[in-house]
């Protein structure tokens, strides 16, 4: 398929998906519409945030090996910008899906105690604040990097290195807000301190998987000259490490709640371990941990494109399943997957691809103006 053909397919997909999305609201009900909306918007948002985190991480630690690859997560982090209007639109879902908007529910002492945080004005302020901070980070880290392509101004590296540690703090707070506000507050009575870290683990893994897929795609088309399997090996190593990290945090959260057996904590798991949801947890354990862990153990697997493509794709699917497992049970209708879910998927994925294709027209495929590019290309294990 040629370039314009791909574009046409994506546009047709997005329009058809949009039709299905709108039909969902009228046919299957607005609750299902908004649950899908939040699921897909958080999915795409976390991929983008993970990529933004990878970009900032490179500046914080002063990594050189990843400089030739940096443009890839930089472009992918544009998804965060795409998802800002989606987040603003999702505010409509507050009275429909979020029980704490109901005064009746707030009378419950547990939920009522959280009213300081869970109220609509503060929620809107937090959404706007997060969006503003992300756009700021995007402008400083990504736009600055693209601008560097022409001028090759090394002062960008200094600015980025100063801003990146600040962004780390911003990221830590905002990703926790995403986790608490959009996901965990769907069941406002639930407590979990580690939930933000859990979402962070999935986010970073999703960002890494998307970056790995895009890097392999560009390498196969010869658009990243000089990038060797040694660079890819590091991405594979990161995937391997954070597969374990995600499982560690996920299991730690479950173990403590299972042990303490407190009603305000276990009800969340009880809901998500029965029937099809319980089967889904086993699928998650296999796809999100055992398969990538065992496949990525040998040294060759971490740099071999064939295996990495499979694992990275599986990680994205697993990240979606993870979010589906956390968000969808609030609907109370079991594990549904039918045309509304499919059309939401087509709509969000096609729009994301269109957005990224647009982002690919900006700047070079590698940060050619970065003074450390040469050093990065010379990286060997």
């Amino acid at each position: 398929m040629n370039e314009s053909g791909t574009r046409k397919t994506l546009v047709v997909g997005a329009v058809a998906g949009l039709a299905g999305v709108i039909a969902t609201g009228f046919v299957a009900g607005w609750e299902r519409f908004w649950v899908n909306w939040i699921l897909w918007f958080v999915f795409i948002l976390t991929i983008g945030l993970g990529c933004l985190f990878i970009v900032a991480l490179e500046h914080v630690v002063g990594a050189r090996w990843s400089v030739p690859l940096r443009r890839v997560p930089e472009r992918l982090s544009g998804l965060v910008i795409l998802m800002v209007p989606a987040a603003l639109l999702a505010l409509i879902a507050l009275p429909i899906l979020y029980p704490w908007t109901n005064a009746e529910v707030l009378r419950d002492p547990v939920v009522g105690g959280k009213a300081v945080w869970l109220n609509v004005p503060f929620f809107v302020i937090r959404v706007l604040l997060c969006a503003g901070l992300w756009i700021l980070a995007y402008v400083l880290l990504v736009r600055g990097s693209i601008r560097q392509d022409q001028a090759g101004d090394p002062r960008f590296n200094v600015r980025a290195r100063r801003f990146a540690p600040v962004f780390m703090i911003i990221f830590g707070i905002t990703i926790t807000i995403v986790a608490f506000d959009w996901i965990s507050s769907l069941e406002p009575a639930w407590y979990s301190d580690v939930f933000g870290v859990y979402i962070f683990a999935g986010t970073f893994l999703a960002g890494l998987a998307a970056t790995t897929l895009a890097v392999l795609y560009l390498m196969a088309r010869g658009r990243l000259p000089g990038v060797t399997p040694d660079h890819v090996y590091n991405l594979g190593g990161f995937l391997f490490a954070f597969v374990v990290f995600w499982s560690y945090i996920g299991f730690a959260q479950y173990l403590l709640m299972w042990y303490a057996n407190m009603p305000e904590e276990v009800f969340w798991y009880k809901e998500r371990l029965q029937g099809l949801w319980g089967a889904l947890v086993l699928v998650l354990a296999v796809v999100h941990f055992f398969v990538p862990f065992l496949v990525l153990i040998p040294r060759e697997a971490k740099s071999e494109p064939k295996r990495l493509v499979w694992i990275a794709s599986a990680m994205l699917v697993a990240h979606w399943l993870d979010l589906y497992w956390m968000i969808y049970p609030v609907l109370g209708k079991g594990a549904l997957f039918s045309w509304p879910e499919l059309s939401f998927g087509i709509f969000f994925i096609a729009s994301s691809f269109l957005w990224i294709r647009h982002a690919m027209t900006r700047g070079a495929d590698m940060p050619v103006g970065d003074p450390f590019l040469r050093e990065g290309l010379e990286f060997r294990i």
Binding site: F251, Y254, L255, W258, Y259, N261, I297, P298, R299, R380, I381
Partner: protein, 383 residues
């Protein structure tokens, strides 16, 4: 030619010269190639044709063994060998065992990678590696790069002149020939004495230092923090609760595990109870032991109500082998053991439920034995 040669070393000035020399030397001579460099050089394993280290596979297998054995051991100890219900969880609570399984996996894997590398693959303790006494040693840890053709573990005979020529041609600046290490002789008394004294001194010094530091810092008594934590001991006062008792009454209707309350009031009601125990040898032995310990003092060892107590105090314990008791159902005898009768006290505290039923069996045995019939005698008396 000499079969006493361990290796022939050629020294090079840079890593590039070394890497260039490897294919040249490889083409000329056969033998184990090895390199000694001040820092790791990328791709040198492939250039030398070294086999990949088996450490990875060893670590994986041992890690797997660690994981499986830890989980199996925990399931066995907690669920089979000494089953204890903890925090109301099921006996086979695999969730609780995962952290320890994880730790044991890491432990096995770490020990395998460390010890396996040092002792299995690098053959420690190998004190007399000829390289350690060579003139090149200071250089290859500092500024020179050595390529060695070695005899290898099978003691290949090296053609020294040919190797030297090949190394020179490849650009080696200096050549050094290393002899095989002398075979390790028997352990000398001097070595033994030194080792023993050395270990003794180390033990004394560490022992004294530990003692001294514990004296000096008495606060840091190890491992008492769990005793010091704020907690409520049994039978203590606690002002948090209105009645000032630290211990709470269990919820009404609570039953201790293995202590079902006995609610039957009369012997008639108890008559319907059936003995749940089979008449196996071990049950009958248990019954005899229970009877001898608790019942025989009054009822007599034969259960006929004749015992030492009868003579001393004039008490009249029931004759358990008499016809009226023989007609009692099992449940009625059981009821008397639990509740007592007339002057007899309850034996519920002394005998568990199973032991009481075993005693009932023994009473039946006594009744049968004390009322033997002629037909019980075997017709053919064995000679």
């Amino acid at each position: 030619m000499s079969n006493r040669t361990f290796s022939v070393l050629g020294l090079f000035d840079s890593s590039k010269e070394l890497m260039d020399a490897i294919p040249v030397v490889k083409a000329k001579v056969s033998g184990h190639l090895d390199a000694y460099t001040p820092y790791p050089i990328h791709g040198i394993e492939q250039a030398l044709g070294l086999k990949r280290s088996p450490v990875g596979g060893m670590v994986f297998i041992m890690g797997l063994i660690g994981a499986i054995s830890a989980m199996a051991f925990e399931l066995w100890t907690q669920g089979v060998d000494y089953p204890v219900i903890t925090a109301g969880k099921p006996l086979f609570s695999w969730e609780a065992f995962v952290p320890i399984m994880f730790e044991v996996t890491v432990l096995f894997a770490c020990f395998t990678s460390g010890l396996g590398m040092l002792f299995l693959l690098n053959r420690l303790p190998f004190f007399r590696h000829p390289m350690l006494r060579s003139k090149s040693m200071p250089h290859v840890t500092r500024d020179k790069f050595a390529l060695a053709v070695e005899a290898g573990p099978e003691g290949q005979v090296l053609d020294v002149e040919r190797i030297t020529a090949a190394l020179r041609e490849a650009g080696a600046r200096t050549i050094e020939i290393l002899d095989q290490p002398a075979a390790l002789g028997p352990i000398s008394p001097r070595f033994l004495l030194r080792t023993t004294v050395g270990i003794g001194v180390v033990c004394l010094v560490t022992g004294y230092l530990t003692y001294w530091s514990m004296k000096l810092f008495p606060v840091t008594i190890p491992m008492v923090h769990m005793l010091d934590q704020p907690r409520l001991d049994p039978q203590r006062q606690y002002s948090y609760f209105k009645d000032d008792f630290g211990m709470r009454m269990p919820v009404a209707g609570t039953v201790a595990r293995g202590h079902m309350p006995y609610t039957i009031k009369t012997e008639d009601e108890a008559s319907v109870l059936a003995n749940p125990l089979p008449r196996t040898e071990s049950v009958l032995k248990q019954g005899r032991q229970g009877f001898t310990t608790y019942c025989s003092a009054c009822h007599g060892i034969l259960g006929n109500g004749v015992s030492t107590l009868t003579d001393a105090y004039g008490a009249k314990p029931a004759n358990l082998v008499a016809d009226n008791v023989r007609e009692y159902p099992d449940g009625r005898i059981y009821h008397v053991i639990v509740m007592g009768k007339n002057a007899m006290l309850s034996y519920a505290a002394e005998l568990t439920e199973d032991e009481r039923w075993a005693v009932v069996h023994h009473v039946r045995v006594l009744q049968r034995a004390m009322n033997a019939r002629d037909t019980d005698i075997p017709k053919e008396i064995p000679r």
